[in-house]
Subunit: 303 residues, 2 copies
C-alpha cells in the first residue's frame, strides 16, 4: 500500500481523537458519580498516594494525582516518605491503609528506591484497593475476564476506543508492544471486547505487514515514530501510547509519539495526537478506578 | 493456497508429534527428579485430589491422576466427598490442606455440584499449591511472565512445541479459541517464548486467512474438524487440542480433533494426532506442576 493506491484522497485528514476533552468529560462524570455514591452510601471515596524518595518527576506526578482526586470530590491522602524508608516500613504502612475503612484506593508511585522489592510492595496492596491494577490478582482477573481493577493507561485507551467505535466485535486489533503495563493488559481488554487480537513486539519479523491488517492499531513501544504511514490500513483507528521528547532542527524540543503523525494522519480514519491523546486519560482513569474500588468495597457490582 | 500451488509434493506427510511417547519420557524424567528432590530435601512431593459428587467421568479422571502421581514416586491423597458437601465444608478442607506441610499440590476436580462457587473454591487454594494453575494469582503471574504455576494443558502444548521447534522467537503463532483454560494461557506462554501471537475466536471475521499466516497453529475450540487443509501454511506446526467423539458411517464412533487431520497432514510440517497428541501430556504436566509446587515450597527457584 502506498499513497497512490490508497482509496483516500490526497487531502484526507484523519479525525483527531481528543483525549484531553474526553478526559475532562470523564472527570466531570466521575465527580457526579462520587456525589451520587455519597448519597447512596454516606461514604466518600478516598485515595492514598505513597511517594518514597525525592524523584522530581514522581513528585510532579503524585501532586497531579492528589489534586485531581481532590477536584473529583474524593478524599486525597498523600504519604511522602524519605529515601531511607525500608521495605518493612512501607509494607507496614500499606497494611495499615489496607485496614483503614476511609481508604478505598492505594497507589505506590513507581519507581521505588533500590533495595525495595516493587513487586512485593505492589502485591501487598489488597486487590480491591489496588487502583493501579498492577498486582497479580488484578492481572489474573483481567486475563480471565473477571471483574477487577484494570491498569489506568490501557483502560484509558479502551474508553477512547469505545467512545469512537462503539461495538468492536470482530475487528482486528493489532497491539505493538507487549509490556505488563500497557500492551498485554490492553490485548486482554480488546479480546474481551470481541476483537481478534494480534500482539507484535521486538522479535516480530514483519511488524509493518501485521500492522497493515489492523482495523485498530495500538502502539506502545517507546520507539518514537516507529509506525509509518504505509504501515496503516486506510481508515484504521490509531491509538498512540508512546510519548518521548525529540530535538527539532531549530534546537528546540517537542513531544512525539510512536507513530509518525504527519504520515499517519493522511491514511488513518481516526488517530490520537501526542500530546493530548492517551496521556490525559491516564489520571482520569485512576479516579475512575478509585470510584470502582469504593463501589467494590461497599458491595456494589462494578460496572 | 490449494494443493496444486503447494510447494509440498502430493505424497507429503507431516511429521506426527507423538504426545504419548513424549508424556512417557516426561513422566520418567519426573520420577527421577522426585527421587533427586527427596535426596536434596528429605521431602516427597504430595498431591491432594478432591472430588465432590459422583460424576462418572470425573471419577475416572481423578483415579488416573492419583495412580500416575503414585507411579511418579509422589504421595497421592484422594478426598472423595459426597454430593451433599457444602461450600463451607469444602473451603475448610482446602484450608486444612493449605496448612498441611505434607501436601504440596491441591487439585479440585471440576465441575463442582450446583451451589458451590467454583471460582471461590479455586481461589481458596494457596497459589503455591494451585497445581491446576487456575487461580487468579497464577493467571496473573502468567500474564506478567512471572514464575508461577501454568495450567496443565497449555503447559503440555508448550512442552511439545519446545521439543519439536526449540527456539520459537519471531515465529507467528495463531491460537484459535480464547478460553481461560487453554487459549489465553497458551497465548501468554507463546508471547513469553518470543512468538508474535494472534488470537482468533468465534467473532473473528476470517479465521482461515489468519490461520494461513501461522508458523505455529494451535486450535482449541471444541468445533470438530474446524480447520481444513487450505487453512494451513505449508510446513506449519499444528497443535490440535480439541477432542470430540464423532459417528462414523458404519455406525461406530471415533475421536476427532478440531483439525481435519487427513487434509492437514498433507500440508503441515508437524501435527499432533487425536488421540495421542496433546491429551497424554495433560496429566504428565500435572505431575510436573506438583514437583514445581514442592520446589517452590522448599524455596528452590522454579525452572
Amino acid at each position: 500500500m502506498n499513497s497512490t493506491s490508497s482509496p483516500l484522497t490526497s487531502d484526507h485528514q484523519a479525525i483527531l481523537i481528543n483525549g484531553k476533552a474526553h478526559a475532562a468529560t470523564l472527570r466531570h462524570r466521575i465527580r457526579e458519580d462520587v456525589l451520587a455514591f455519597h448519597d447512596r452510601h454516606g461514604v466518600t471515596p478516598g485515595l492514598a498516594v505513597i511517594l518514597v524518595g525525592n524523584d522530581p518527576a514522581s513528585e510532579v506526578y503524585v501532586r497531579n494525582k492528589a489534586i485531581q482526586t481532590h477536584h473529583a470530590g474524593m478524599r486525597s491522602f498523600m504519604h511522602m516518605l524519605p529515601e531511607t524508608t525500608s521495605e518493612t516500613e512501607l509494607l507496614d504502612l500499606i497494611e495499615r491503609l489496607n485496614n483503614d475503612a476511609a481508604i478505598h484506593g492505594i497507589l505506590v508511585q513507581l519507581p521505588l528506591p533500590a533495595g525495595i522489592d516493587a513487586r512485593r510492595v505492589t502485591n501487598a496492596i489488597q486487590p480491591e484497593k489496588d487502583v493501579d491494577g498492577l498486582g497479580e490478582v488484578n492481572a489474573g482477573r483481567l486475563a480471565m475476564n473477571l471483574p477487577g481493577i484494570v491498569p489506568c493507561t490501557p483502560l484509558g485507551c479502551l474508553l477512547l476506543l469505545r467512545d469512537q467505535l462503539g461495538d468492536m466485535k470482530g475487528q482486528h486489533a493489532v497491539v505493538i508492544g507487549c509490556s505488563n503495563l500497557v500492551g498485554k493488559p490492553l490485548a486482554m481488554l480488546l479480546l474481551a471486547e470481541g476483537c481478534t487480537v494480534s500482539i507484535a513486539h521486538i522479535h516480530t519479523r514483519d511488524t509493518a505487514a501485521l500492522a497493515r491488517q489492523a482495523d485498530i492499531l495500538v502502539v506502545a513501544t517507546g520507539c518514537r515514530e516507529l509506525v509509518r504511514g504505509d504501515w496503516i490500513k486506510p481508515g484504521a483507528t490509531i491509538i498512540d501510547v508512546g510519548i518521548t521528547r525529540a530535538q527539532t532542527p531549530d534546537g528546540k524540543t517537542r513531544l512525539v509519539g510512536d507513530v509518525a503523525f504527519d504520515e499517519a494522519v493522511q491514511v488513518a480514519g481516526r488517530i490520537t495526537p501526542v500530546p493530548g491523546g492517551v496521556g490525559p486519560m491516564t489520571i482520569a482513569c485512576l479516579l475512575e478506578n478509585t470510584l470502582t474500588a469504593a463501589r467494590m468495597q461497599v458491595g456494589e457490582t462494578p460496572s
